[in-house]
């Protein structure tokens, strides 16, 4: 009888007692099948060890980026209240001295998601009286230029590149009682500086961009007297031309534009910088 595959593996990995090792060594001297198995397993282990020591090439890293973006596309990230009680100014006592600390912002509520890790704080600027939300995450993909939805109010907000979005006054009576969620874009297009050169755009020029999931947009660069501009039109979403209404966000540095558009409509955006990346995100 031959030793089992598991026993032979333990033998190769030096995980057997002395007696078993001796028994298997004796067997291997006589048995060409088990010798072949051992050779196979050693070769296999060596191949894996060699591969584990190599660094990952740039092409594979690009694939990782794409696969990760695809995994995020269109996902809804629910946010749960972390604590509901709004922070209140402390009671000031005479013993505290004359200088009273007065915070410039008040935290109205904090929400979070565990997977992925995202914190959302609903804040009030006490100087201006404006309310805003702030998304915080290690990965900017979850905070910058994402859509925050409040389904009960049918409201949608897009954060800027710092993860902030302003809230209209009166929008938040009881923010902790609302349902807050982050909606990731269905598709993200990136226009790198090499792809376009607005300085040379003396006339309108079209570029069609397409994702592997058959989302297709047309970007038109226009040189106008008041500045450089792009306009975006959606051609297909998921390979379909009858996609109804789509929310489009365009951002470059701190500037962004957001609009609901249909098939024959377009969104215009004034370029801030001729050398910076433009991101176009589609939400459905």
């Amino acid at each position: 009888m031959h030793p089992s595959g598991k026993e032979l593996k333990r033998f190769i990995e030096n995980r057997l007692d002395e007696l078993s090792v001796r028994r298997i060594k004796e067997h291997l001297q006589q048995c060409e099948f088990c010798r072949e198995f051992v050779e196979n397993y050693r070769l296999f282990g060596q191949s894996l060890d060699d591969a584990a020591e190599e660094s990952i090439p740039p092409e594979a890293l690009q694939l990782a980026d794409r696969l990760y973006s695809d995994a995020l596309a269109g996902r809804i990230i629910s946010l749960e209240p972390l604590f509901s009680k709004a922070s209140e100014p402390k009671l000031h006592l005479a013993a505290d001295g004359e200088k009273e600390f007065r915070p410039r912002v008040q935290n109205l509520t904090t929400l979070y998601s565990e997977n992925p890790e995202v914190i959302m704080r609903v804040m009030r600027d006490l100087d201006s009286g404006e309310d805003y939300l702030q998304l915080i995450s290690d990965d900017p993909a979850f905070s910058a230029h994402v859509m925050v939805q409040v389904p009960e109010l049918k409201r949608e907000l897009i954060t800027d590149d710092s993860g902030q979005a302003m809230l209209e006054s009166g929008f938040l009576e009881v923010p902790e009682k609302l349902t807050w969620q982050i909606k990731m874009p269905e598709a993200v297009f990136s226009l790198e500086p090499l792809v376009y050169d607005p300085n040379k755009t003396e006339y309108a020029k079209d570029i069609v961009l397409e994702t592997e999931r058959q989302d297709k947009i047309k970007v038109t660069f226009e040189g106008k007297t008041e500045g450089k501009q792009i306009s975006i039109r959606i051609l297909e979403l998921d390979g379909k031309t009858d996609f109804g209404q789509v929310k489009v966000s365009v951002s470059q540095r701190h500037a962004s534009a957001f609009k609901d558009i249909k098939r024959d409509e377009s969104l215009s955006f004034d370029l801030v910088d001729t050398k910076d990346v433009i991101k176009v995100r589609l939400y459905q």
Binding site: M1, H2, S4, G5, K6, K9, Q30, C31, E32, F33, E36, F37, N40, Y41, L43, F44, S47, L48, D49, D50, A51, A52, E53, E54, S55, I56, P57, E59, A60, L61, L63, A64, L67, Y68, D70, A71, L72, A73, G74, R75, I77, N115, P116, E117, D138, D139, A141, E186, R213, D238
Partner: protein
């Protein structure tokens, strides 16, 4: 993204299963997927597989192939991120990865990834199993020895028998069926130490099966040898590319349903009967059911199983393992064999797996 030591793989898989959308967890998981894929491709190449992209001189051909393979392994659908990974682990009962053992996760992941690679390579029409050709050549050489006789070809088939049985070929008896030959080939393998001995032992056992003629068809002999060799010598997912492993989501779901149904049938129709006959007690029956589940799962997801005593050892306490042959062998083997039969019958009836009939 850096390289990872293999010791950490199980923990990385666990972190990814818990937080697949966490960028760090994903990057680490992608890293081990990449390294494992390149390692496996390197192994296949060393074994003589002619892999796609090998003719390319630009860049690293194995890296290019690994990138192609991982694109399908880690894709996301509109409805669900990484469905290949999560449907597989969910069906195996890892809905709560926090509680899973990292070594166990690594083993399952390895099975899944290698199955996927083999499946994709089969689709890319990679030359199938060069080691099979090598093995067949070795046996054809052995059969040229004077101890063997070959009957003249009849309708393209060659018949082989031992020269010493030249005058006693039991011509009036039926021919040995292939299933019997396969069992004989396995039995002979377990008792031999070289290919020549193996071949001779097969014919010795064929001769002992006196209800049949003592000769075999050459192509059936080679098929049986390849089958047994793949089962034992090419163990650990190193089985040559033959048929794709059915790990696609729908198929996996159907298979898991069939396993659950089989286990339920096994308890009622087989194990309870053994309990009634006082061959085993209810605790042992439960352990046998666990062993049957592991066996069916290995069979369904990898196409390979360990020897039956290995499964017995896995589920039974140490004290009972030494009395396997005397007290449990018959009941345990009957349990597993009946489970396999029932499982295969169920799968054959399910429309989802009809196109994979040959696999089963």
């Amino acid at each position: 993204m850096t390289s990872f030591t293999r010791d950490s793989y199980g923990y990385i898989i666990k972190a990814f299963l818990i937080s697949p959308l966490n960028r760090k967890a994903f990057d680490s998981f992608f890293g081990i997927c990449y390294q494992s894929t390149v390692g496996y491709l390197r192994y296949l190449k060393a074994k003589g597989f002619q892999l796609p992209h090998e003719h390319r001189t630009d860049g690293d051909p194995l890296a290019d192939l690994a990138i192609d393979l991982l694109g399908t392994f880690l894709y996301s659908s509109r409805d669900r991120p990484f469905p290949v990974i999560f449907s597989y682990f969910n069906k195996l009962g890892y809905a709560q990865p926090c509680e899973a053992d990292p070594d166990d996760l690594l083993h399952r992941f390895t099975v899944l990834l290698r199955g996927h690679i083999r499946q994709q390579l089969a689709r890319l029409k990679v030359q199938q199993a060069p080691q099979i050709d090598h093995l067949k050549r070795r046996f054809k050489e052995i059969l040229k020895d004077v101890r063997f006789k070959i009957l003249p070809k009849s309708r393209g088939e060659e018949w082989i028998y031992l020269a010493q049985h030249c005058d006693d070929r039991r011509k009036e008896r039926p021919l040995l069926p292939y299933d019997e030959l396969l069992q004989i080939a396995e039995k002979a393998y377990l008792n031999s130490r070289s290919r020549t001995d193996w071949c001779l032992d097969i014919f010795k056992l064929v001769n002992e099966a006196t209800q049949y003629q003592n000769l075999v068809k050459k192509h059936e002999l080679l098929a049986a040898i390849v089958s047994v060799n793949s089962k034992y010598v090419e163990a650990d997912g190193l089985q040559p590319v033959c048929l794709p492993t059915p790990v696609e989501a729908l198929l996996t779901k159907t298979i898991e349903e069939a396993i659950v149904e089989t286990l339920s049938w096994l308890k009622e129709s087989v194990l309870d009967r053994f309990i009634h006959k006082v061959r085993i007690d209810s605790e042992e029956a439960e352990r046998f059911q666990q062993a049957a589940e592991k066996y069916l799962s290995d069979l369904a997801h990898t196409g390979q199983t360990d020897s039956l005593p290995e499964y017995f050892r896995e589920v039974m306490p140490e004290g009972k393992r030494i009395t396997y042959l005397s007290d449990y062998k018959y009941v345990f083997e009957t349990t597993i064999n009946q489970a396999v039969e029932n499982f295969k019958d169920r799968l054959k009836k399910k429309s989802t797996v009809l196109k994979y009939r040959d696999y089963f």
